[in-house]
């Protein structure tokens, strides 16, 4: 990979260890994927924030970077943590976890990374079409490429952090237009009714495709929120970082391999995401973090209702969207629900909160929670989630 003079000097250590190690990460990955050069990025989004997922080992590396003077070069955001410090009454109460989690947030913040911790940084600021990004978090990556039309590879925590410090990323993968062409035509031969069915479609397609790029046919007037669930689910079971919802694609895809999805495929995928029919202890909405419209929808559905005793209703969103939806938040909280920020059900200590059965409208959560949180799952639509959460 070609490096200019300035990049070479950083690689040789002229600006200190932190930038040298960041440059080395980018160069080694660039060599591995046969990138020709480094390109400037508009922003970075960093995963590896929750103490539950990263543990003490990452803290040691972050400490070393901060000590060596590491600062972000571009606008940078970060994924949810394990704790919402504004809702401590809802959180696990182990002091060591609180202290370690706070340290992680402090370390990222001291590098200049925005401490609004969310998997939906695009609601805070939508990057312009065609800009290059270095984003981690698979649901965020697939949303950026497919819905925002900005370009990012599926970065990991360390490579996104390195890109944040240097302000550049190696030019390979979907940063090159020749690698952004659709490989497979997915014909959806069933009507999708809600966000949960879009999620189930994503789970099904991701299992079959691995890392190919699908172009969908037959999605009628999908909303961005529904496509968010489709992408998040597809990136969970597969390695996809890009899809084409193709509401306005030219019908020129005759040459592509075709995958047909019918009502039975969708039903099977949908049912595979529930592992129990027991009553839920927690109803969870907000994976990926809710948009303005999604918080509003929950509020409209729960108005004048009351959450059952002994059941938790969590609606997770970014601190930014929470502030923007204050009147809806009040309605949800008056009904007994909680609007939580900076964390989510998957990256917090769910089992330790006494949750055994989790109900959700998120296919991504339903897919991960049995292994990552050791809970049983019920996967259903938002309407049914609210119904199950509330008293008759």
């Amino acid at each position: 990979m070609y490096l200019n003079k300035e990049e070479e000097r950083i690689y040789e250590g002229e600006r200190g260890w932190a930038y040298q190690i960041a440059m080395k990460i980018l160069v080694k990955l660039g060599d591995l994927y046969e990138a020709d050069k480094l390109i400037l990025i508009d922003s970075a989004h960093i995963s590896g924030v929750s103490y539950k997922t990263i543990g003490d080992t990452a803290i040691e590396f972050l400490e070393a970077l901060v000590k060596a003077g590491a600062k972000s070069k571009v606008r940078s955001t970060a994924n949810p943590a394990g704790i919402d410090y504004n809702h401590l009454e809802e959180m696990v109460t182990l002091p060591k976890l609180h202290e370690r989690q706070a340290r992680i947030i402090e370390l990222y913040e001291s590098m200049g990374i925005n401490p609004i911790l969310t998997c939906t940084p695009y609601y805070l600021r939508r990057p312009r079409e065609g800009t290059h990004l270095a984003w981690a978090e698979s649901s965020t990556v697939i949303y950026a490429n497919s819905i925002l039309h900005s370009w990012t590879n599926r970065e990991g925590g360390p490579s996104a952090l390195a890109a944040s410090l240097i302000g550049k990323t190696p030019n390979y993968g979907v940063h090159k237009s020749e690698n952004r062409r659709a490989d497979v035509l997915v014909k959806v031969e069933t009507d999708l009714k809600n966000e949960a069915e879009f999620g189930a479609l994503g789970i099904h397609v991701g299992r079959i495709l691995k890392n190919e790029i699908p172009s969908f046919e037959g999605l009628l007037h999908p909303e961005e929120n529904q496509l968010k669930h489709l992408g998040a689910a597809m990136a969970s079971t597969g390695m996809s970082s890009l899809f084409y919802p193709c509401t306005s694609c030219p019908k020129s895809s005759d040459t592509l391999e075709t995958l047909s999805v019918d009502t039975n495929d969708l039903k099977r995928a949908f049912e595979s995401l529930s592992t129990t029919d027991e009553a839920p202890d927690m109803i969870y909405i907000g994976c990926p973090h809710c948009s303005f419209e999604e918080v509003k929808q929950v509020a409209q559905k729960i108005r004048n209702k009351k959450v059952k005793d002994g059941v938790k209703l969590w609606v997770c969103t970014s601190r930014y969207v929470r502030r923007k939806t204050e009147s809806y938040v009040k309605i949800i909280e008056a009904a007994g629900g909680k609007v939580i920020s900076d964390t989510c059900a998957v990256v917090t200590w769910l089992k330790e909160l006494g949750v055994d059965v989790l109900m959700t409208n998120s296919a991504k959560t339903a897919y991960y929670a049995p292994t990552m949180n050791r809970v049983k799952t019920i996967f259903t639509s938002l309407d049914e989630c609210i119904e199950a959460a509330c008293q008759e």
Binding site: L32, A136, G156, P158
Partner: protein
């Protein structure tokens, strides 16, 4: 008179992370996930049903096909090496981003495109991360 070669076998691979390291090989046929697969405190392999289960990584030349799993695995490799319970070098068949980044930040040599079945656990090997060579100096 011909000079005696010092090594038995020299395997040619691809240089990934520079540096020179010598030690006893620990060889696996299975992919390894550092996150969840290795105890970060002790460097012991804890992944169930893994052929290295129970083995200690400390000071070994760790040879395995490739990594898998979470990118947090890179931080685990960093931490293992920093605590002195990590491997001295990595030899892979196919480098993957998790292990590459781990070796970069841990500062240990790494070579890939090596048929790791040519190396046996206990062999004394030397890894040259600049030339992409692995020399087997002594059979274990």
């Amino acid at each position: 008179m011909r000079e005696k070669t010092l090594h038995i076998v020299e395997l040619k691979g691809r240089p990934i992370v520079s540096g020179l390291s010598r030690g006893k090989a620990l060889v696996s046929k299975s992919p390894l996930s550092f996150l969840g697969g290795v105890d970060p405190e002790t460097g012991k392999v804890i992944e169930k049903n893994h052929d290295l289960n129970g083995k200690i990584l400390a000071n070994t030349i760790l040879c395995f096909p490739h990594g898998h799993g979470s990118t947090v695995g890179s931080y685990v490799l960093y931490s293992l090496v920093k605590r002195g319970v990590g491997p001295k070098a990595i030899v892979n068949e196919t480098a993957d981003p998790v292990v590459v980044v781990g070796a970069v930040i841990a500062g240990i040599p790494m070579v890939d495109k090596i048929d790791v079945s040519r190396i046996r656990t206990g062999d004394l090997v030397e890894v040259d991360g600049d030339k992409g060579r692995v020399k087997i100096l002594e059979r274990g």
